[in-house]
Symmetry: C2
Subunit: 171 residues, 2 copies
């Protein structure tokens, strides 16, 4: 089965992201607005318990994540994906690195660009238009996220949350 | 904010439910297939920590839930909702009762009919047609669910998982 690891921001930020996603994001109906920590990866049923235990430990050793959105950006020319760009922060980098280390699959292809996608699979023309419009908005938002989620993908492409882990030690 | 409490069944059952929901369920894109334990209820930010703590305790004292789907049924004439009917089981009833007791809001309006919705907001004609078709399928499925989820609703009607709780004591 295909799993993924993501953070869900506050309702306020999700609602704001959805106001764009409903028009521009082909994945709008498949998953709520999120910050991907680990792209989809295959896990079989035997591997799952180890990954769950490791995830619990990583979460416990982590700190709540600082989210600081400071602009709209694009992955162009790699893709026509438009997103809220999140400032790099050690709390985010920690999660990314831990979830790309044994027993999780390694990533040596891409760097980590933390973001919330608000548009994807746009045509060249749409991409240029939407980006032009959004660049004029002042997009700034700060918050702290205290949970990380393990999800799996259904056959229709939609994602179901399997388990959440609180970041940091229980108080 | 509006919260709800639900169980998500296995990918296998969700995929099967979605094969019907994609055609018949107006909520298809808003939430994956699920078993509602508590209908949407309002929680303000100050109440949330107490509810989370109570939920953790209820989950710890609970047992994993036995799901036994044995037929397709309808809420007609109350509504044109079609669902996989789940046999009553003490593990399910326990969760339902605990989540309709202080500090959670009480429900004295309806009884608990555990189910997975596969069609809703159908016209009379559609409802009759779909029900007729589905009644000919043999729908049987058993599984155990070991997590319960607290979700909140976004402005677009979609649901985000806030936290999951494992059912039973940690081993």
């Amino acid at each position: 089965m295909k799993y993924g690891i993501a953070l869900f921001p506050s309702k306020k930020l999700q609602d704001q992201a959805n106001s764009f996603r409903m028009r521009y994001d082909s994945h709008y109906a498949l998953i709520p607005p999120h910050i991907t920590i680990k792209e989809p990866f295959e896990v079989n049923d035997e591997e799952l318990p180890l990954l769950l235990n490791t995830m619990a430990q990583i979460a416990e050793n982590a700190e709540p994540v600082t989210i600081d959105i400071y602009k709209v950006d694009t992955f162009y020319p790699q893709s026509h994906t438009i997103f809220f760009k999140i400032r790099e922060h050690k709390t985010l980098t920690y999660l990314y690195e831990e979830f790309h280390n044994e027993p999780f699959s390694i990533n040596d292809k891409y760097g980590f660009i933390p973001h919330v996608t608000i548009g994807q699979d746009l045509s060249s023309q749409e991409h240029a238009d939407v980006l032009g419009q959004l660049k004029m908005h002042k997009i700034e938002h700060q918050e702290t996220i205290s949970r990380v989620q393990l999800l799996y993908q259904l056959e229709n492409g939609a994602w179901t949350v399997y388990e959440t882990f609180r970041l940091g030690k229980e108080v």
